[in-house]
C-alpha cells in the first residue's frame, strides 16, 4: 500500500502543532514535557517520510540522533520536574514566576 506523501506530511504537521499548542497552552510541566516529545516525534516522522520519498538514507540517520537527544532531554527534564515538585509541591508553570519584574 502506498501512502500519498502529502497525507503523511500533513499528519506530521498536525501532530507538531498539537505538541506546540500543548507546550504553549498547558500549565502542567509533565504535560509540557510530553508535548515536547510529541513535537520531536512529529519531526522524526517527517524525516522518515522525506527519506522514503527521496530515497535518501541520510534522513533516517538524523532520526537516530533526534531519538537519542529526546531520550536524554526527557531524562534531564523529568529530573528537573521531580526536583521542582519536591520543593514547591506543584508543577503549575503559572506558579513559577520568580523571574517576573515585580508589578
Amino acid at each position: 500500500m502506498i501512502v500519498e506523501s502529502w497525507i503523511l506530511l500533513s499528519f506530521c504537521a498536525l501532530i507538531f502543532c498539537v505538541g506546540l499548542l500543548g507546550v504553549l497552552l498547558r500549565r502542567n510541566l509533565l504535560v509540557i514535557l510530553m508535548s515536547i516529545e510529541l513535537m520531536l516525534n512529529a519531526i522524526n516522522l517527517t524525516f522518515v517520510s522525506f527519506s522514503y520519498q527521496l530515497q535518501d538514507i541520510h534522513g533516517q540517520v538524523c532520526v537516530f540522533f533526534v531519538i537519542a537527544l529526546a531520550a536524554s532531554e526527557s531524562a534531564v527534564g523529568l529530573a528537573l520536574v521531580i526536583a521542582w515538585f519536591r520543593t514547591m509541591k506543584t508543577t503549575d508553570t503559572y506558579a513559577m514566576q520568580y523571574l517576573r519584574e515585580s508589578p
Binding site: T93, Y94, M96, Q97, R100
Partner: protein, 633 residues
Amino acid sequence: MMGSSAMVGMVLFPWMGFLINGLGYWFFQSSSHQKKWSSAVAGSIGTLCMLFSCVLAWNFFFQFLGLPAEARVLEYAGFSWISLGKLQVDLGLRLDSLSSLFVCVITLVGSLIHLYSIGYMKEDPTPGKFFAYLNLFCFFMLILVLGDSFPVVFLGWEGVGLCSYLLIGYWYQDQAKAQAGKKAFLVNRIGDFGFLLGVFLVFTTFGSLAFEPLKHAVLNAVGVERSIQWICGLLFVGCMGKSAQIPLYIWLPDAMAGPTPVSALIHAATMVTSGIYLVTRLNFLFTLAPWVLHTMAWVGAFTAFFAASIALCQRDIKKVLAYSTVSQLGYMFLGCGVGAFGAGVFHVITHAFFKALLFLGAGSVIHGMHEEQDLFKMGGLRKEMPHTFLMVALGWLAICGIPPFSGFFSKDEILGHAFHGSWGLWALGVITAAMTAFYMTRFFYLAFLGRSRHASVHVHESGWNMLMPLQVLGFFSVFAGFLGIPHASWLEHWLEPILGLSIHEPNGMEWPLMFISVLAAVLGMTWSFSKYRRFDPCEAQAFPRLAHFLEHQGYVNEGLHTLFVVALQRVSFFAWSVLDIKWIDGFVLGVSSLATQLGGLFRLLQTGVVQHYLLMVLMGLLMSTGYWMYVQG
C-alpha cells in the same frame, strides 16, 4: 665696609623672626602651654630681629653718606630663580640711594611698632602668630624695596598683600573683620592684575625684567611710545590698588579692622607707600608717558580731596586716620604726577613718621579706654594720658602743615610743584590742606581736649614700651622735614642718581605759595577749634544732608555693592535658576526619564511565565523564517 652678605642678613633677620615665632606659636599653641609663648617672649624676639635689621639698614645709610653719589650702590647677584628660554630672572637685591631711604624708614618704624605691639597685644591669646605675621610682613616689604627686577618686587608686592590680609583678619572670629580682610585681598587682586599685565608688556617690549638693563633698553629703544604708555598705565593700576587711590581705595578704610599697630605699620607707613616707591623707581619710564602722569596727578588730587572730605565727618577714631592716609597718599601721587618724584618720596618719609605716630597714639587711646573707638565718647584725655597727648599733638601739628614740623615741608614741596604743573591741581591741594587741618583738629579736640564724655570707663596711660615708640616717632615727626628744606634740599641731592639732576629756578612764587598753604591750614584749624569748642554730640549738624553723606563714607561702599555685588548675585541667580535648573538639568533629567519610561513599557513583557517567552521565541522564529523565505528568497 659691609658687603652684600650683610644686606642679605638685613633682609633675613625678619624672616628668622617669622620662623622662630611661627614655630614657637606652633609648638605652644595648645591652650595649656599658651602662656609660654606670651606677648613678651614673642614680642622680644620679633623686636630684636627688627632691631638688628634696623641697625644694619642705618649702617648702610651712613656708609652711603660717606661715598660719592655714583658709588652708592650695593648689589647682591643672588641666584638664578627662573630660567625659561628668553626669560631669565635672578633673585637679586640692589640697595641704592632710593631703596636705602625706604629700608631705613621701614626698619625703624617697624622696630618701633614691634616694640609697641608688646604692650598693645598683651592680652591677646595668640601673640606668637601676630608677631610671626608682622615679621613676615617686614621681610616681604624689604624684598619689595630691595628687589632689582620686576619678579622680585612682585614677590614682595604679593607677600605684603598676603600679610596685610592675614593681619586685617587677625581677629577672624569677628565676621566683619574677616570680611574686611577678604575685601582688602580682593580689591588688591584687581590692582595686581594690572601690575602683572604691565610686567608682561615690559617683557615683550624690552625683553628684560631687571631694572638696570631696562633703563638702558628704554633709553635706546625706538618706536615704543605706545607700549610705554600702556606699561605705565597698567603699572599705575597696580599702584592704585596697593596705594589706595580712587577707585580702588575702598579696602583701606575697612582695613582698620586689624589691630592698631598693624594699621600704623602696614596701612599707613609702609605697604601703602609701595605704589609711590614703584613709580619713583620707574621714573625713567613714567616720564616718557606724560598722559599717565597727568592722570596720576588728577587721580591723586581728587583722591586727596575726596578722602579728606569723608574724614571730616567720621566718628571712628581709626576711620578718620584711615581716610587721612588715603588723602595723604593722594598727595604723594599728585607730587609724582607732576614729575616731582622726590617730593613724593619726601612726603612718604614724613608721612610714615607722623601717621605712624598718630596711629600709635590712637592705639594708645583705644588701649587706655578699653577698646573704645568712638570719638564722641572720648574727650578730655589730656589729663589722663599726658604723654600720649603731647606726642599726638606733635603728629597733629605735623600733618596740619604748621612750620617747622615735618609735614609742612613735604606738603609744601608737593604743592609748589603742583602749582607749576597745573593751577587746578594746586587749588585742589590747598583746599585739601585746609580740610586736613580741619578734620585733624576735630580729631585732636574730640579726643584730648574739651570736657570728658566717658564717665564710666577707667582710663589709664599706656606703659613705657608703648610710649617710647611714640616719643621716637614724635622726634622724627618734628625734625624729618629738615631733610628737604626748599632750595637746599638734601633729599633731592641724595636722590639724584635715581631721578637725575633737578633744575630749580626760583621764580619768586615760593614764598606766596607757602604763605597761602600755611594760611589755609591755620584757617582750617581755627574754624575747627571754634566749631568743636562747644561740642555737643546731640546737636544738629550745620549741613545735615552733606554731613550724613560724608558720615556714610559717600555711600561708595553701598554704590559698589549695588553695582557689582548685587548685580553679580542677580546674574548668578539667573544662571542658577534658569540656565542650570531649567535648561541643563531639564535636558539631562529628560533623557534619563525617557529611558525610565521606555523601560517601564518593556517591563510589561517580562511576565515571568515560561510560555510567554516561548511564544516570543516562536514568533521570532516564524518572522525570521518568513523573512528568509519571502523577502530574500
